[in-house]
Each structure stands twice: as C-alpha cells, then as structure tokens.
C-alpha cells in the first residue's frame, strides 16, 4: 500500500500548513500597530495624498497611512460609512451627502488643500484647440457629434467622460455643462490618468482632466479664450477652476490633524505644487 509515502507527504504538508497559517497570527502582536489612517477619494487628489502620505510616514515612523482612489463619491461615501478617516474630494460635498452624513452621525468638516483647474484636452492631431463653453456643452450633451460642426476636421468626436463617482466629473458638469446630462454614449473612464491616456491615443477625442494630469501627449484647449495655467487658475480667470477638498468627521484631531497640518504646511504645499496643483494659500477664489 502507498501509505508510507503519502504519510510522509502528509506530515510535511501539515507542518508547512501550520507554519504559514500561524504567520499572520504571529504578526498580530503589536498593539500599537492598528493606528492606520485611511485616505480615500478623488483620483485628482490622489497624487497629493500619496506623496504626502509617503513623506509624512518617512518623517513619522510610527505613522501608518493607507491611500486609495476610487473617486470623490467613493471618498465621501466611505466617510459616511465610517470606513475612512480622511475623504479627499475634487468637488464640494453635496447637500444630500451632508444630510446622509448627519443621519449617520458624521459631521463633515471641510479643509481646502489645493487649487486645481479642469483642463479640456484634445488629441495633438486635432487643430481645434480654442473652445468656448457653449461648444463644450454642445459636444458633451450630444448636440454636436462631429468636429466639422464647430469648424474642425471631418471627424467623429469621441467624448470622454468620467464615471459618476468622480469629483472632476461633478465639477465639470457644474462649471461647463450647467448641470445638463452628459450624452449616454460617452466613454466612461475611471480616473484622470485614463482620460489622459485615452485622449492621447484617440485622434477624435475630447476629454476633461485635472490640470496636474496634463501631459505633453495631449493638447490643452483654451476655454473662452483663457489658457489653462497656474496663473489663470490662481487668479480665477480660468473658468473651470475649483478647489480640492479634504473632509473629515468633525474637526481633525490626533494623527489625522498632524497629517492635514503637514499637507497645509509649506513643505506639504510644495509637494502640492510639484504634483501640478496650485497651493491653497495662493488662491483668490
């Protein structure tokens, strides 16, 4: 009978199994280690949150921060559900969200961490790099479907939008579309980065993304004659400028407060600028 061989195999496997199952249990022993700060929310704010978390953790070795994206909607929903302490958002919290929060016993406290502009980008091969707000609105709501209708080449417009959890989407909707609905056949992407990549790869595309995500693979169109730049965002001339927010449950305390203070400090704001945003201190909106 084969029992001797299998018995040996079983013994080895049993020992191996015991070892690996015990590993996580062994690492359970550090009582202080459960102080994780979670940050969830806007993909626009994500680079700032991430680099901020890294530098902060380098400075404060005891700190432990977990960063996620998902969209502004995800961040605020998680704050309400209690699954995150810091929610980042590229739009202001909505009235319904505040109501839901209050109903759940959460009191959203707002901090502005940076200023950002929503750039409207087209593919580099597209000659149309001067757009007006009405044109943008017509394109996004489906009234205009071909570039030639507004004076460009004869090419189908590929409309790139963001998914519904995006704060950039909400801000764009409010600022450029006046609350009208985006056409249903617009390509829905998950983050600023995907917008950047898709517009770069698609000749007829138009998309909106955070100023910090603009790359030289796409061409930024001027909106109502104003180019999107740090200066125009700071001065408020650029029509699609908006603040970037952090929401916490009540006024931040403890480690969370220390982290937010860090972000708002000179060094933190330098990180903000490095990521392509405008410092919160310099805004005049």
């Amino acid at each position: 009978m084969q029992v001797p061989n299998t018995a040996r195999l079983m013994n080895i496997s049993r020992r191996f199994l015991c070892l690996i199952v015990l590993l996580p249990a062994l690492s359970c022993s550090d009582p202080e280690a459960n102080n994780i700060i979670t940050i969830k929310g806007s993909t626009t704010v994500l680079p700032v949150a991430q680099i901020g978390a890294e530098v902060f953790m380098d400075r404060h070795p005891g700190a432990d921060i977990s960063v996620q994206g998902g969209g502004s909607g995800v961040g605020i929903a998680s704050l309400i559900d209690g699954t995150t302490q810091i929610a980042t958002s590229s739009r202001k919290i909505k009235k319904e969200e505040t109501a839901k929060a209050k109903a759940a016993g959460v009191h959203p406290f707002e901090t502005i961490v940076a200023m950002d502009g929503i750039a409207v980008a087209v593919n580099p091969s597209n000659s149309m790099d001067r757009l007006t707000t009405p044109q943008i609105r017509d394109i996004y709501t489906g009234k205009v479907s071909n570039w030639k209708e507004i004076g460009g080449d004869d090419r189908e417009i590929v409309v790139i939008s963001r998914d519904t959890s995006s704060g950039t989407f909400e801000a764009f909707e409010k600022l450029a579309l006046d609350g009208q609905k985006v056409r249903p056949d617009a390509l829905v992407t998950a983050s600023n980065q995907v917008v950047n990549m898709t517009v770069a790869q698609t000749p007829g595309a138009i998309g909106y993304l955070g100023y910090g995500y603009l790359s030289d693979r796409v061409r930024a169109a001027s909106v109502d004659g104003v180019r999107c730049s740090e200066e125009t965002i700071r001065s408020g001339r650029y029509p699609l400028a908006r603040p970037l927010y952090i929401y916490t449950n009540g006024r931040p305390t403890g480690e969370v407060e220390r982290f937010i203070d860090f972000l708002l400090s000179e060094e933190g704001q330098r990180l903000v600028k490095e990521q392509g945003f405008i410092s919160a201190r310099e805004r005049s909106l």
């Binding site: 299998t6 459960n34 994780i36 979670t38 432990d64 921060i65 960063v67 994206g69 992407t189 950047n196």
Partner: protein
C-alpha cells in the same frame, strides 16, 4: 476484411474510384479549419505570454520583489502586494479546505440517497457558477458590514474561501471516490469503525488527489480580483499587514489600480507588467505543480 479492402472492393467502391471527390475537399477544408482554430488559440496564448514576459521582465529585480513602493508608486517594489496575495490565499484555503473536505466526506461516505442530499449537490453546482462580483457583493454586505470585520484580510479570505468551496469539494470528492472499494472493505473487515476507516485508510489514500485539487484552487483564488475589490484591498499602504483586520495590497488589484488610478503611466505600466509577470508565473507554477502531481498520481494508481 480490413478497412482498406472494404474501401477498394466494397459496396461504395465504384463511386470512390473518381479522382477528387467533394467529400475529400470538404474533409481537407474541415481539417484546415480545425487546425486554424487551434493555431489561433495557441497564437493568442503565445502573444499574451510573450508580451507579459518581454515587457514584464525588465521590471523584475530583487528590489522589485522585496521592497515597498516609493515615490508615488514609481520606485521601489511590490512586496506588500505579493505578501497580501499570499495572506489572502492562505486565509481562503484555511477556511475552505476543512469545510470543503468535510462536505466531500459527507457526500461520499455518509450521505443517504435523499432529496436533501441532492439539494446540497445542486447548491454546490450553483455556487460554482455564481459570478465573482456577486461574491464580492455578498462579502461586502455580510463580512464587511454585518459582521463588522471591515475591509480586511479576514473579510477577503472568507469571501475568497466561499468562492473556492465548490472547487475544493469536487476535487476532494473525486479523490475520495478514487480510493478503491477494497481498501475500505478490508479495513471494515478487520474490525475498524466507519470513522476509523475514513480517517486512517480513505483520507491518507485520497490525500494526493486532495492536495492536487487544493493546489489548483489556490492558483485560481490567487488571481481573483472582483471578490476582494470591496472586501480586502487598498491602493497603497506603506508596509505589511499588522493583523487579520488590516487592509492589504494584492497583486491582481494592484495591476488594476495602477492602470486606472496610477498617476505616472509611463513608469506604472512597466510596474503593471512586472506584477502581471509575477502573478502569471505564480499561477502557472502552481498549476504546473498540480498537473505534475496529478500525472504522477495517475501513474501510481493507474486511473
């Protein structure tokens, strides 16, 4: 009469003497088509493996495999994701193996032929067909929320474990049924009780088969993303999980997150390729081990 003789002299021979028949042409075309199908499948597989290998290999280094991500995911490595995948997989198997094995033992050894048992079989089959995202929904609603485990290794492992359950049950069933009836009869004849027979004769003999099944399911579980999306994972955390209640990074989710939320695509696509290579190698190595084990087993037991 051989087939040859029949063809040359049999009832249809006359019609067959013509030079090129329609049926020959259609046969040739048919075989060509079949060959093309398999060539296409092999080509696609080859393309995937080629790209992942060629573009992922440059990203792999000792540092990549062992250090944490730095500088907004553009430097350092993906070690926390590897560790996270490991913990999730181990957790899933430690949950589903005892349960699955117990179920298989019941179905093979104890179950009467009643309607209830058929219902159990049906549920196992149906559980196997449920989309992975539905498991994620269930895990989120129940483990994360109702049980209050939060987004954690625990929730993720339990969700993955339920997903792996049908696979483990059927692999264990197969292994147990393959144990020759004579072994059991001999044991019972020698005076052992039913349980003693199961524990000391059936299970040890079925062990290699069960092990193979477990290994195959480990491979499947390690690569799953949807069940852990809302139950276990996070995009970035500096270190390694402290307890079963922490969030983790995981390889499959990391690839997704890098591609959709990453902030520096040029570098991060590279990293995503590297992660894909690691994940693919892991899963394929695990499957290879299982297949080899199964071949050896078949040789020994001659099934």
């Amino acid at each position: 009469m051989t087939r040859q003789t029949l063809r040359e002299n049999g009832p249809f021979a006359a019609g067959r003497k013509k030079a090129l028949r329609g049926s020959d042409v259609s046969q040739a075309l048919g075989f060509l088509l079949l060959g093309a199908c398999i060539v296409f499948a092999l080509f696609f597989l080859g393309t995937i493996l080629y790209f992942i290998l060629v573009r992922g290999a440059p990203a792999i280094s000792w540092e990549f495999l062992t250090s944490v991500p730095r500088r907004a995911m553009t430097q350092g490595g993906v070690a926390p994701a590897i560790v996270g995948t490991f913990y999730l997989t181990v957790g899933a198997i430690s949950f589903s193996l005892p349960l699955g094995l117990a179920c298989a033992i019941y179905l093979c050894e104890y179950s009467p032929k009643t309607v209830l048992v058929n219902i159990i079989r049906l549920s196992i089959n149906n559980l196997a067909g449920i989309p992975s995202i539905v498991f994620g929904l269930f895990g989120f609603a129940v483990f994360v929320k109702v049980f209050g485990f939060g987004v954690s290794i625990l929730s993720g492992s339990l969700t993955l474990g339920i997903m792996a359950l049908p696979g483990i049950i059927s692999a264990s069933q197969e292994a147990i049924l393959a144990v020759p009836q004579s072994y059991k009869e001999a044991s019972l004849a020698l005076g052992a009780t039913h349980w003693q027979t199961i524990a000391r004769v059936v299970l040890p003999s079925a062990f290699p088969g069960i092990l193979t099944g477990v290994i195959l399911n480990i491979g499947r579980v390690a690569g799953e993303t949807a069940p852990i999306l809302f139950t276990a994972v996070t995009f970035y955390t500096r270190g390694y999980p402290d307890s079963v209640f922490s969030e983790v990074m995981a390889l499959p989710y990391h690839i997704y997150a890098l591609m959709t939320e990453g902030t520096r695509p040029e570098i991060q696509t590279q990293i995503a390729y590297g992660c894909s290579l690691i994940l693919l190698s892991l899963v394929l190595a695990i499957s290879a081990v299982a297949i080899i084990l199964r071949q050896r087993q078949r040789r020994i037991y001659g099934s």
